[in-house]
Protein backbone atom coordinates (compact mmCIF):
# COMPACT_ATOMS: atom_id res chain seq x y z
CA UNK A 1 0.00 0.00 0.00
CA UNK A 2 1.12 3.51 -0.84
CA UNK A 3 2.64 5.24 2.19
CA UNK A 4 3.58 8.85 2.89
CA UNK A 5 4.85 10.77 5.89
CA UNK A 6 2.11 13.36 5.52
CA UNK A 7 -1.16 13.21 3.59
CA UNK A 8 -2.95 16.55 3.28
CA UNK A 9 -6.62 16.48 2.33
CA UNK A 10 -7.61 19.65 0.47
CA UNK A 11 -5.74 21.99 -1.88
CA UNK A 12 -7.08 25.31 -0.55
CA UNK A 13 -4.76 27.79 1.19
CA UNK A 14 -4.63 25.81 4.46
CA UNK A 15 -3.91 22.47 2.81
CA UNK A 16 -1.38 23.85 0.35
CA UNK A 17 0.46 25.80 3.04
CA UNK A 18 0.56 22.69 5.24
CA UNK A 19 1.92 20.67 2.30
CA UNK A 20 4.53 23.35 1.55
CA UNK A 21 5.69 23.46 5.17
CA UNK A 22 5.78 19.67 5.52
CA UNK A 23 7.82 19.31 2.30
CA UNK A 24 10.23 22.00 3.46
CA UNK A 25 10.70 20.03 6.68
CA UNK A 26 11.86 17.10 4.54
CA UNK A 27 8.71 15.03 4.95
CA UNK A 28 7.38 12.96 2.05
CA UNK A 29 4.14 14.80 1.42
CA UNK A 30 1.16 14.41 -0.90
CA UNK A 31 -1.88 16.69 -1.05
CA UNK A 32 -5.24 16.05 -2.66
CA UNK A 33 -7.68 18.41 -4.37
CA UNK A 34 -11.16 17.35 -5.51
CA UNK A 35 -11.35 20.00 -8.23
CA UNK A 36 -9.52 19.80 -11.54
CA UNK A 37 -7.27 22.54 -10.21
CA UNK A 38 -6.94 24.25 -6.83
CA UNK A 39 -9.32 27.17 -6.35
CA UNK A 40 -12.05 26.17 -8.77
CA UNK A 41 -14.33 25.05 -5.93
CA UNK A 42 -13.58 27.98 -3.68
CA UNK A 43 -15.06 31.41 -3.41
CA UNK A 44 -14.46 33.95 -0.72
CA UNK A 45 -14.00 37.64 -0.02
CA UNK A 46 -10.93 37.48 -0.47
CA UNK A 47 -8.94 40.14 1.27
CA UNK A 48 -5.50 39.60 2.72
CA UNK A 49 -4.50 41.95 5.54
CA UNK A 50 -1.13 43.57 6.13
CA UNK A 51 -0.06 40.86 8.58
CA UNK A 52 0.42 38.70 5.49
CA UNK A 53 3.62 40.64 4.82
CA UNK A 54 4.97 39.53 8.17
CA UNK A 55 3.79 35.91 7.99
CA UNK A 56 3.66 34.98 4.31
CA UNK A 57 5.86 37.43 2.38
CA UNK A 58 6.66 34.75 -0.22
CA UNK A 59 2.97 34.77 -1.22
CA UNK A 60 2.39 38.53 -1.00
CA UNK A 61 5.41 39.27 -3.19
CA UNK A 62 3.92 37.24 -6.04
CA UNK A 63 0.34 38.55 -5.93
CA UNK A 64 0.80 41.67 -8.09
CA UNK A 65 1.59 39.43 -11.08
CA UNK A 66 -1.84 37.78 -10.90
CA UNK A 67 -4.73 39.05 -13.05
CA UNK A 68 -7.29 39.74 -10.31
CA UNK A 69 -4.89 41.55 -7.92
CA UNK A 70 -5.78 44.91 -6.44
CA UNK A 71 -3.85 46.53 -3.64
CA UNK A 72 -6.05 47.08 -0.59
CA UNK A 73 -4.92 49.89 1.67
CA UNK A 74 -8.08 50.89 3.48
CA UNK A 75 -11.60 49.85 4.35
CA UNK A 76 -14.37 52.36 3.75
CA UNK A 77 -17.49 51.75 5.80
CA UNK A 78 -20.73 53.22 4.48
CA UNK A 79 -23.51 53.66 7.00
CA UNK A 80 -27.01 53.61 5.52
CA UNK A 81 -30.15 54.89 7.21
CA UNK A 82 -33.71 53.57 6.92
CA UNK A 83 -34.36 55.71 3.85
CA UNK A 84 -31.38 54.06 2.13
CA UNK A 85 -29.29 57.21 2.23
CA UNK A 86 -25.54 57.06 2.84
CA UNK A 87 -25.31 59.01 6.07
CA UNK A 88 -21.78 58.36 7.21
CA UNK A 89 -18.57 57.23 5.59
CA UNK A 90 -15.77 56.01 7.79
CA UNK A 91 -12.34 55.06 6.52
CA UNK A 92 -10.04 52.72 8.40
CA UNK A 93 -6.40 52.63 7.54
CA UNK A 94 -3.12 52.93 9.35
CA UNK A 95 -2.40 56.06 11.33
CA UNK A 96 0.94 57.84 11.00
CA UNK A 97 2.08 55.90 14.03
CA UNK A 98 1.93 52.74 11.97
CA UNK A 99 5.35 53.71 10.72
CA UNK A 100 6.60 52.07 13.89
CA UNK A 101 5.05 48.75 12.94
CA UNK A 102 6.39 45.93 10.82
CA UNK A 103 4.27 46.78 7.81
CA UNK A 104 6.14 49.99 7.18
CA UNK A 105 9.50 48.48 7.93
CA UNK A 106 8.87 46.27 4.92
CA UNK A 107 8.19 49.41 2.93
CA UNK A 108 4.69 48.25 2.19
CA UNK A 109 2.74 50.80 4.19
CA UNK A 110 -0.65 49.54 5.22
CA UNK A 111 -1.07 47.57 2.03
CA UNK A 112 -2.96 44.32 1.95
CA UNK A 113 -4.36 42.69 -1.14
CA UNK A 114 -7.59 41.63 -2.76
CA UNK A 115 -7.26 38.52 -4.87
CA UNK A 116 -9.48 35.87 -6.41
CA UNK A 117 -9.25 32.38 -4.98
CA UNK A 118 -8.87 31.16 -8.57
CA UNK A 119 -5.54 33.03 -8.56
CA UNK A 120 -4.47 32.62 -4.94
CA UNK A 121 -5.10 28.91 -4.42
CA UNK A 122 -3.04 27.71 -7.42
CA UNK A 123 -0.21 30.06 -6.37
CA UNK A 124 0.08 28.52 -2.89
CA UNK A 125 -0.32 25.01 -4.34
CA UNK A 126 2.56 25.76 -6.76
CA UNK A 127 4.76 26.84 -3.85
CA UNK A 128 4.01 23.50 -2.17
CA UNK A 129 4.89 21.59 -5.34
CA UNK A 130 8.12 23.59 -5.70
CA UNK A 131 8.97 22.66 -2.11
CA UNK A 132 8.68 18.99 -3.10
CA UNK A 133 5.11 18.03 -2.20
CA UNK A 134 3.10 16.00 -4.72
CA UNK A 135 -0.26 17.43 -5.80
CA UNK A 136 -3.04 15.12 -7.00
CA UNK A 137 -6.00 16.97 -8.47
CA UNK A 138 -9.43 15.54 -9.42
CA UNK A 139 -9.10 13.24 -6.44
CA UNK A 140 -11.81 13.06 -3.84
CA UNK A 141 -10.86 11.68 -0.44
CA UNK A 142 -13.98 10.13 1.04
CA UNK A 143 -12.89 8.27 4.17
CA UNK A 144 -10.21 7.84 6.80
CA UNK A 145 -8.45 4.60 7.68
CA UNK A 146 -8.51 4.06 11.43
CA UNK A 147 -6.54 1.71 13.61
CA UNK A 148 -7.72 1.59 17.20
CA UNK A 149 -8.86 5.21 17.35
CA UNK A 150 -5.85 6.55 15.45
CA UNK A 151 -6.05 7.78 11.86
CA UNK A 152 -3.47 5.91 9.82
CA UNK A 153 -4.44 6.96 6.31
CA UNK A 154 -7.19 7.93 3.89
CA UNK A 155 -9.30 6.35 1.18
CA UNK A 156 -10.09 7.90 -2.18
CA UNK A 157 -13.67 7.84 -3.47
CA UNK A 158 -12.45 5.29 -6.01
CA UNK A 159 -11.44 2.96 -3.20
CA UNK A 160 -7.64 3.29 -3.12
CA UNK A 161 -6.07 3.26 0.34
CA UNK A 162 -3.19 5.57 1.14
CA UNK A 163 -1.29 5.34 4.40
CA UNK A 164 0.27 8.23 6.27
CA UNK A 165 2.15 8.84 9.48
CA UNK A 166 0.05 11.98 9.87
CA UNK A 167 -3.07 13.17 8.05
CA UNK A 168 -3.74 16.91 7.88
CA UNK A 169 -7.41 17.57 7.16
CA UNK A 170 -7.90 20.85 5.29
CA UNK A 171 -11.15 19.82 3.65
CA UNK A 172 -13.28 22.79 4.51
CA UNK A 173 -16.22 23.62 6.73
CA UNK A 174 -17.95 20.32 6.08
CA UNK A 175 -14.77 18.29 6.69
CA UNK A 176 -15.46 14.72 5.65
CA UNK A 177 -12.24 13.72 7.45
CA UNK A 178 -13.32 15.18 10.83
CA UNK A 179 -16.72 13.51 10.53
CA UNK A 180 -15.41 10.11 9.43
CA UNK A 181 -12.89 10.12 12.28
CA UNK A 182 -15.74 10.80 14.70
CA UNK A 183 -14.38 14.18 15.79
CA UNK A 184 -17.55 16.14 15.13
CA UNK A 185 -20.65 16.37 13.01
CA UNK A 186 -22.46 19.56 11.93
CA UNK A 187 -21.54 22.82 13.67
CA UNK A 188 -25.00 23.23 15.17
CA UNK A 189 -25.48 27.01 15.22
CA UNK A 190 -21.84 28.14 15.02
CA UNK A 191 -21.65 28.32 11.27
CA UNK A 192 -22.55 31.13 8.89
CA UNK A 193 -23.50 30.90 5.24
CA UNK A 194 -22.14 33.50 2.86
CA UNK A 195 -23.91 34.18 -0.42
CA UNK A 196 -21.83 36.35 -2.71
CA UNK A 197 -22.16 37.96 -6.13
CA UNK A 198 -19.25 38.49 -8.46
CA UNK A 199 -19.63 41.60 -10.65
CA UNK A 200 -17.55 42.32 -13.71
CA UNK A 201 -16.75 46.00 -14.29
CA UNK A 202 -14.39 48.48 -15.92
CA UNK A 203 -11.07 48.36 -14.06
CA UNK A 204 -10.03 51.93 -14.89
CA UNK A 205 -13.34 53.31 -13.73
CA UNK A 206 -13.08 51.24 -10.55
CA UNK A 207 -9.62 52.78 -9.99
CA UNK A 208 -11.19 56.21 -10.18
CA UNK A 209 -14.21 55.51 -7.97
CA UNK A 210 -12.91 53.11 -5.32
CA UNK A 211 -9.13 53.14 -5.73
CA UNK A 212 -7.48 50.78 -3.29
CA UNK A 213 -10.29 50.87 -0.76
CA UNK A 214 -12.52 47.95 0.09
CA UNK A 215 -16.05 48.84 1.05
CA UNK A 216 -18.50 47.69 3.71
CA UNK A 217 -22.17 48.55 3.95
CA UNK A 218 -23.88 48.72 7.33
CA UNK A 219 -27.47 49.71 7.91
CA UNK A 220 -30.72 48.63 9.50
CA UNK A 221 -30.07 45.23 7.89
CA UNK A 222 -27.13 42.81 7.98
CA UNK A 223 -23.82 44.29 6.97
CA UNK A 224 -22.31 43.48 3.60
CA UNK A 225 -18.77 43.61 2.24
CA UNK A 226 -17.67 44.78 -1.15
CA UNK A 227 -14.19 43.61 -2.17
CA UNK A 228 -12.65 45.24 -5.23
CA UNK A 229 -10.39 43.31 -7.59
CA UNK A 230 -8.60 44.40 -10.77
CA UNK A 231 -11.67 44.50 -13.02
CA UNK A 232 -14.40 43.15 -10.80
CA UNK A 233 -15.79 43.11 -7.30
CA UNK A 234 -17.59 40.86 -4.84
CA UNK A 235 -20.67 41.75 -2.86
CA UNK A 236 -21.24 39.36 0.04
CA UNK A 237 -23.57 39.22 3.03
CA UNK A 238 -23.39 36.34 5.50
CA UNK A 239 -25.68 35.16 8.25
CA UNK A 240 -25.61 32.48 10.94
CA UNK A 241 -27.40 29.26 9.96
CA UNK A 242 -29.78 28.72 12.84
CA UNK A 243 -33.14 27.15 13.53
CA UNK A 244 -34.89 30.55 13.41
CA UNK A 245 -33.82 31.03 9.76
CA UNK A 246 -36.64 32.82 7.97
CA UNK A 247 -35.22 34.61 4.93
CA UNK A 248 -34.24 33.86 1.37
CA UNK A 249 -30.51 33.24 0.95
CA UNK A 250 -30.18 36.19 -1.40
CA UNK A 251 -32.19 38.71 0.70
CA UNK A 252 -29.11 40.38 2.21
CA UNK A 253 -27.53 40.92 -1.23
CA UNK A 254 -30.76 42.16 -2.76
CA UNK A 255 -31.13 44.59 0.11
CA UNK A 256 -27.78 46.22 -0.68
CA UNK A 257 -28.59 46.26 -4.38
CA UNK A 258 -31.58 48.48 -3.61
CA UNK A 259 -29.36 51.24 -2.18
CA UNK A 260 -29.28 54.10 -4.71
CA UNK A 261 -25.60 54.77 -3.96
CA UNK A 262 -24.77 51.16 -4.81
CA UNK A 263 -26.74 51.34 -8.06
CA UNK A 264 -25.03 54.55 -9.05
CA UNK A 265 -21.66 53.03 -8.27
CA UNK A 266 -22.52 50.10 -10.57
CA UNK A 267 -23.58 52.46 -13.32
CA UNK A 268 -20.41 54.52 -13.07
CA UNK A 269 -18.07 51.50 -13.21
CA UNK A 270 -20.16 49.60 -15.83
CA UNK A 271 -20.80 46.75 -13.41
CA UNK A 272 -22.94 43.72 -14.10
CA UNK A 273 -23.51 40.69 -11.86
CA UNK A 274 -22.10 37.57 -13.51
CA UNK A 275 -21.65 34.82 -10.92
CA UNK A 276 -23.48 33.74 -7.79
CA UNK A 277 -21.50 31.83 -5.16
CA UNK A 278 -22.37 30.54 -1.72
CA UNK A 279 -20.25 28.88 0.93
CA UNK A 280 -20.29 27.85 4.59
CA UNK A 281 -18.09 29.85 6.93
CA UNK A 282 -17.62 28.59 10.51
CA UNK A 283 -17.74 31.63 12.80
CA UNK A 284 -17.12 30.15 16.21
CA UNK A 285 -16.26 31.47 19.62
CA UNK A 286 -13.58 28.81 19.84
CA UNK A 287 -12.18 26.39 17.28
CA UNK A 288 -13.27 22.80 17.84
CA UNK A 289 -10.91 20.11 19.12
CA UNK A 290 -8.32 20.31 16.39
CA UNK A 291 -6.51 16.97 16.71
CA UNK A 292 -7.02 13.28 17.23
CA UNK A 293 -4.61 10.37 17.00
CA UNK A 294 -2.76 10.68 13.66
CA UNK A 295 -4.75 13.66 12.38
CA UNK A 296 -4.98 17.45 12.75
CA UNK A 297 -7.63 19.83 11.40
CA UNK A 298 -6.66 23.13 9.77
CA UNK A 299 -8.52 26.14 8.40
CA UNK A 300 -12.32 25.98 8.13
CA UNK A 301 -12.27 22.24 8.96
CA UNK A 302 -11.03 23.15 12.45
CA UNK A 303 -13.30 26.20 12.80
CA UNK A 304 -10.35 28.63 12.77
CA UNK A 305 -11.80 31.73 11.02
CA UNK A 306 -11.55 34.96 13.00
CA UNK A 307 -14.33 35.28 15.61
CA UNK A 308 -14.52 39.04 15.00
CA UNK A 309 -14.61 39.46 11.22
CA UNK A 310 -14.80 35.94 9.77
CA UNK A 311 -11.50 36.26 7.88
CA UNK A 312 -10.28 32.75 7.22
CA UNK A 313 -7.43 32.50 4.73
CA UNK A 314 -4.70 33.81 7.01
CA UNK A 315 -6.06 31.53 9.74
CA UNK A 316 -5.99 28.59 7.34
CA UNK A 317 -2.37 29.22 6.33
CA UNK A 318 -1.25 29.78 9.93
CA UNK A 319 -2.94 26.63 11.20
CA UNK A 320 -1.62 24.72 8.16
CA UNK A 321 1.92 25.82 8.92
CA UNK A 322 1.65 24.97 12.62
CA UNK A 323 0.03 21.58 11.89
CA UNK A 324 2.84 20.65 9.47
CA UNK A 325 5.52 21.75 11.95
CA UNK A 326 3.81 19.70 14.64
CA UNK A 327 3.67 16.71 12.26
CA UNK A 328 7.43 16.97 11.68
CA UNK A 329 8.06 17.17 15.42
CA UNK A 330 5.75 14.22 16.20
CA UNK A 331 7.13 12.00 13.41
CA UNK A 332 10.72 12.67 14.51
CA UNK A 333 9.78 11.52 18.01
CA UNK A 334 8.03 8.45 16.63
CA UNK A 335 4.77 9.30 18.38
CA UNK A 336 1.70 10.55 16.53
CA UNK A 337 -0.82 9.54 19.18
CA UNK A 338 -3.62 11.87 20.23
CA UNK A 339 -1.62 12.75 23.31
CA UNK A 340 1.41 13.72 21.25
CA UNK A 341 -0.63 15.76 18.76
CA UNK A 342 -2.13 17.80 21.61
CA UNK A 343 1.09 19.73 20.98
CA UNK A 344 -0.67 21.19 17.89
CA UNK A 345 -3.30 22.90 20.04
CA UNK A 346 -0.66 24.17 22.47
CA UNK A 347 1.28 25.66 19.57
CA UNK A 348 -1.61 27.40 17.79
CA UNK A 349 -2.92 28.76 21.06
CA UNK A 350 0.48 30.32 21.73
CA UNK A 351 0.60 31.86 18.22
CA UNK A 352 -1.11 35.05 16.95
CA UNK A 353 -3.91 32.71 15.83
CA UNK A 354 -4.64 31.80 19.43
CA UNK A 355 -4.81 35.37 20.69
CA UNK A 356 -7.90 36.20 18.60
CA UNK A 357 -9.65 33.08 19.77
CA UNK A 358 -8.85 33.83 23.42
CA UNK A 359 -11.57 36.48 23.10
CA UNK A 360 -13.92 34.55 20.82
CA UNK A 361 -16.81 34.84 23.29
CA UNK A 362 -16.56 38.62 23.45
CA UNK A 363 -16.20 39.03 19.67
CA UNK A 364 -18.99 36.68 18.59
CA UNK A 365 -21.44 37.95 21.21
CA UNK A 366 -20.88 41.55 20.16
CA UNK A 367 -21.33 40.76 16.48
CA UNK A 368 -24.29 38.47 17.00
CA UNK A 369 -26.16 41.11 19.02
CA UNK A 370 -25.42 44.15 16.87
CA UNK A 371 -25.06 43.75 13.10
CA UNK A 372 -27.30 40.69 13.13
CA UNK A 373 -30.03 42.44 15.12
CA UNK A 374 -31.87 44.79 12.73
CA UNK A 375 -33.84 46.51 15.54
CA UNK A 376 -30.69 47.38 17.42
CA UNK A 377 -28.93 48.46 14.21
CA UNK A 378 -31.71 50.99 13.51
CA UNK A 379 -31.10 52.63 16.88
CA UNK A 380 -27.33 52.20 16.79
CA UNK A 381 -27.10 54.08 13.51
CA UNK A 382 -29.06 57.00 14.96
CA UNK A 383 -26.69 57.07 17.90
CA UNK A 384 -23.64 56.92 15.62
CA UNK A 385 -25.00 59.81 13.59
CA UNK A 386 -25.46 61.91 16.73
CA UNK A 387 -21.94 61.03 17.83
CA UNK A 388 -20.66 62.17 14.47
CA UNK A 389 -22.51 65.48 14.84
CA UNK A 390 -20.36 66.28 17.87
CA UNK A 391 -17.28 65.99 15.71
CA UNK A 392 -15.70 69.46 15.22
CA UNK A 393 -16.15 69.27 11.43
CA UNK A 394 -19.85 68.47 11.79
CA UNK A 395 -20.42 71.34 14.20
CA UNK A 396 -18.70 73.65 11.74
CA UNK A 397 -21.15 72.70 9.00
CA UNK A 398 -24.34 72.50 11.03
CA UNK A 399 -26.34 75.57 9.97
CA UNK A 400 -29.70 74.61 11.43
CA UNK A 401 -29.21 77.17 14.20
CA UNK A 402 -26.33 79.09 15.72
CA UNK A 403 -23.40 76.67 16.19
CA UNK A 404 -23.49 76.77 19.98
CA UNK A 405 -27.15 75.75 20.14
CA UNK A 406 -26.61 73.06 17.48
CA UNK A 407 -23.80 71.45 19.43
CA UNK A 408 -25.79 71.44 22.64
CA UNK A 409 -28.86 69.99 20.91
CA UNK A 410 -26.82 67.12 19.48
CA UNK A 411 -25.30 66.36 22.86
CA UNK A 412 -28.78 66.33 24.40
CA UNK A 413 -30.07 63.99 21.66
CA UNK A 414 -27.21 61.68 22.37
CA UNK A 415 -27.97 61.61 26.08
CA UNK A 416 -31.65 60.96 25.23
CA UNK A 417 -30.67 57.87 23.27
CA UNK A 418 -28.00 56.44 25.53
CA UNK A 419 -30.27 54.74 28.08
CA UNK A 420 -31.63 52.50 25.30
CA UNK A 421 -28.14 51.14 24.85
CA UNK A 422 -27.18 50.59 28.47
CA UNK A 423 -28.17 46.93 28.28
CA UNK A 424 -26.30 46.40 25.02
CA UNK A 425 -23.27 48.32 26.28
CA UNK A 426 -22.98 46.46 29.56
CA UNK A 427 -23.58 43.02 28.04
CA UNK A 428 -21.64 43.24 24.80
CA UNK A 429 -19.39 46.31 24.75
CA UNK A 430 -17.91 46.24 28.26
CA UNK A 431 -16.54 42.69 27.87
CA UNK A 432 -14.37 43.99 25.02
CA UNK A 433 -12.27 45.66 27.74
CA UNK A 434 -10.99 42.13 28.41
CA UNK A 435 -8.96 42.38 25.20
CA UNK A 436 -6.93 45.30 26.51
CA UNK A 437 -3.56 43.93 27.53
CA UNK A 438 -2.09 44.34 31.05
CA UNK A 439 0.74 46.45 29.56
CA UNK A 440 -1.74 48.95 28.15
CA UNK A 441 -3.75 49.04 31.40
CA UNK A 442 -0.53 49.58 33.35
CA UNK A 443 0.49 52.37 31.04
CA UNK A 444 -2.89 54.10 31.33
CA UNK A 445 -2.73 53.95 35.12
CA UNK A 446 0.82 55.26 35.25
CA UNK A 447 0.06 58.04 32.81
CA UNK A 448 -2.78 59.16 35.10
CA UNK A 449 -0.64 58.91 38.23
CA UNK A 450 0.67 62.50 38.37
CA UNK A 451 -2.95 63.68 38.57
CA UNK A 452 -3.93 61.45 41.50
CA UNK A 453 -3.60 63.29 44.83
CA UNK A 454 -1.49 61.54 47.52
CA UNK A 455 -0.75 58.52 45.30
CA UNK A 456 1.34 60.58 42.93
CA UNK A 457 4.29 60.46 45.32
CA UNK A 458 4.37 56.64 45.47
CA UNK A 459 6.89 54.61 43.46
CA UNK A 460 5.23 53.09 40.32
CA UNK A 461 5.29 49.50 41.60
CA UNK A 462 3.70 50.33 44.90
CA UNK A 463 1.09 52.58 43.25
CA UNK A 464 -0.01 49.76 40.90
CA UNK A 465 -0.09 47.23 43.74
CA UNK A 466 -2.19 49.54 45.83
CA UNK A 467 -4.67 50.17 43.01
CA UNK A 468 -4.94 46.42 42.40
CA UNK A 469 -5.58 45.87 46.09
CA UNK A 470 -8.27 48.57 46.18
CA UNK A 471 -10.08 47.65 42.96
CA UNK A 472 -10.97 44.14 41.78
CA UNK A 473 -11.49 45.27 38.16
CA UNK A 474 -8.01 46.75 38.00
CA UNK A 475 -6.58 43.67 39.69
CA UNK A 476 -8.05 41.28 37.12
CA UNK A 477 -7.04 43.53 34.21
CA UNK A 478 -3.45 43.71 35.42
CA UNK A 479 -3.25 39.99 35.98
CA UNK A 480 -4.61 38.80 32.64
CA UNK A 481 -2.18 36.58 30.80
Amino acid sequence: MEKWDVVVVGGGPGGSYAAKTAAEKGLRTVFFERGEKPGEKNSSGAGLGTRWWRDFPEIMGKLPELPSYRKADMIVIKIIDEENRVRMVHGTTGSDRDGSRWSDSLDKGMAGAAIYRLDLDPLIADLAVQAGAELRTSTLISDVIMDGGTVTGVKTAKGESIQAEVVIAADGAMSTMARKAGMRNRWGGGCTIVPQLDFGCDGDKLDAVAGNAEWCWFGPFNGAYQMHFAESFHLGAGKWLRQDWDVKMTDGLERVMEIPAFRKFCKVVDAYPREYQVHLLPWLKKPVKSYTGGMMLVGDAGGFPCPLDGEGIWHACMSGRIAAETAAWAISRGDVSERALAEYERRWKASPLGLEHTFGDEFVELWDHSIFDPELMKKLIQLLLEFSEIHPFSVLFDWSDDHVSCLNQHIEHMFDMMPEFSDFASKYMSPLANTISPQVVKRALLQAKPKVPLFKFLPDDLYLKLLARLNGQIRSRLERV
Binding site: G35, K41, Y116, S142, A173, C191, M249, Y276, L280
Partner: protein
Protein backbone atom coordinates in the same frame (compact mmCIF):
# COMPACT_ATOMS: atom_id res chain seq x y z
CA UNK B 1 -30.36 48.86 -18.35
CA UNK B 2 -28.82 47.73 -15.06
CA UNK B 3 -30.46 44.45 -14.16
CA UNK B 4 -29.79 43.55 -10.55
CA UNK B 5 -31.80 40.34 -10.55
CA UNK B 6 -29.95 37.38 -9.18
CA UNK B 7 -30.62 34.70 -11.77
CA UNK B 8 -29.07 31.57 -10.28
CA UNK B 9 -29.57 29.54 -13.44
CA UNK B 10 -27.47 31.98 -15.47
CA UNK B 11 -24.97 32.82 -12.73
CA UNK B 12 -23.85 29.40 -11.56
CA UNK B 13 -21.61 27.14 -13.63
CA UNK B 14 -21.22 23.37 -13.59
CA UNK B 15 -18.74 20.97 -15.13
CA UNK B 16 -19.83 18.13 -17.34
CA UNK B 17 -19.77 14.64 -15.89
CA UNK B 18 -21.76 12.45 -13.55
CA UNK B 19 -21.60 13.82 -10.03
CA UNK B 20 -22.94 10.59 -8.52
CA UNK B 21 -25.27 10.66 -5.55
CA UNK B 22 -23.82 12.96 -2.91
CA UNK B 23 -26.82 14.06 -0.84
CA UNK B 24 -28.96 11.61 1.08
CA UNK B 25 -31.99 12.25 3.25
CA UNK B 26 -32.94 9.71 5.88
CA UNK B 27 -36.74 9.95 5.91
CA UNK B 28 -36.91 8.16 9.24
CA UNK B 29 -35.02 11.02 10.86
CA UNK B 30 -36.60 13.88 8.84
CA UNK B 31 -39.12 15.88 10.89
CA UNK B 32 -40.44 17.84 7.91
CA UNK B 33 -39.38 21.23 9.36
CA UNK B 34 -38.62 22.59 5.88
CA UNK B 35 -35.46 24.51 6.81
CA UNK B 36 -33.62 22.77 3.97
CA UNK B 37 -36.17 24.31 1.60
CA UNK B 38 -35.53 27.78 3.01
CA UNK B 39 -31.72 27.71 2.91
CA UNK B 40 -31.27 26.23 -0.56
CA UNK B 41 -30.19 28.87 -3.08
CA UNK B 42 -31.09 26.54 -5.96
CA UNK B 43 -34.55 25.52 -4.70
CA UNK B 44 -33.68 21.84 -4.73
CA UNK B 45 -35.74 20.82 -1.70
CA UNK B 46 -39.47 20.58 -1.08
CA UNK B 47 -41.59 19.06 1.66
CA UNK B 48 -44.24 16.51 0.69
CA UNK B 49 -46.35 14.56 3.16
CA UNK B 50 -44.29 15.93 6.02
CA UNK B 51 -40.97 14.72 4.60
CA UNK B 52 -38.18 16.48 2.73
CA UNK B 53 -37.80 15.64 -0.95
CA UNK B 54 -34.73 16.38 -3.04
CA UNK B 55 -35.04 17.26 -6.74
CA UNK B 56 -33.99 14.20 -8.76
CA UNK B 57 -31.51 16.15 -10.94
CA UNK B 58 -29.94 18.07 -8.05
CA UNK B 59 -26.42 17.23 -9.22
CA UNK B 60 -26.81 19.60 -12.18
CA UNK B 61 -27.87 22.55 -10.02
CA UNK B 62 -26.45 22.11 -6.50
CA UNK B 63 -23.95 24.80 -5.42
CA UNK B 64 -22.34 22.41 -2.91
CA UNK B 65 -22.69 24.91 -0.07
CA UNK B 66 -23.97 22.20 2.32
CA UNK B 67 -26.35 24.63 4.04
CA UNK B 68 -29.04 21.89 4.03
CA UNK B 69 -26.68 19.57 5.91
CA UNK B 70 -25.70 22.24 8.45
CA UNK B 71 -29.24 23.45 9.18
CA UNK B 72 -30.77 19.97 9.59
CA UNK B 73 -31.23 19.57 13.33
CA UNK B 74 -32.34 15.92 13.30
CA UNK B 75 -29.28 15.23 11.10
CA UNK B 76 -31.38 13.52 8.46
CA UNK B 77 -29.40 15.06 5.62
CA UNK B 78 -26.03 13.59 4.77
CA UNK B 79 -23.82 15.52 2.40
CA UNK B 80 -20.64 14.33 0.76
CA UNK B 81 -19.05 15.80 -2.36
CA UNK B 82 -19.77 15.10 -6.02
CA UNK B 83 -17.33 12.90 -7.93
CA UNK B 84 -13.90 14.50 -8.33
CA UNK B 85 -13.68 16.98 -11.20
CA UNK B 86 -17.46 17.33 -11.55
CA UNK B 87 -20.10 19.59 -10.05
CA UNK B 88 -20.12 23.32 -9.49
CA UNK B 89 -17.11 25.31 -10.64
CA UNK B 90 -16.14 28.91 -10.00
CA UNK B 91 -15.88 30.49 -13.44
CA UNK B 92 -14.78 34.03 -12.59
CA UNK B 93 -13.45 34.12 -9.05
Amino acid sequence: MYDFKIDIKKMVFHKEGDTGDFIQCDLEKCNGCGLCVKVCSANLWSVKDGKARLAPRYGELCLECAACWEICEPEAIDFSYPAAGTGVTIKYG
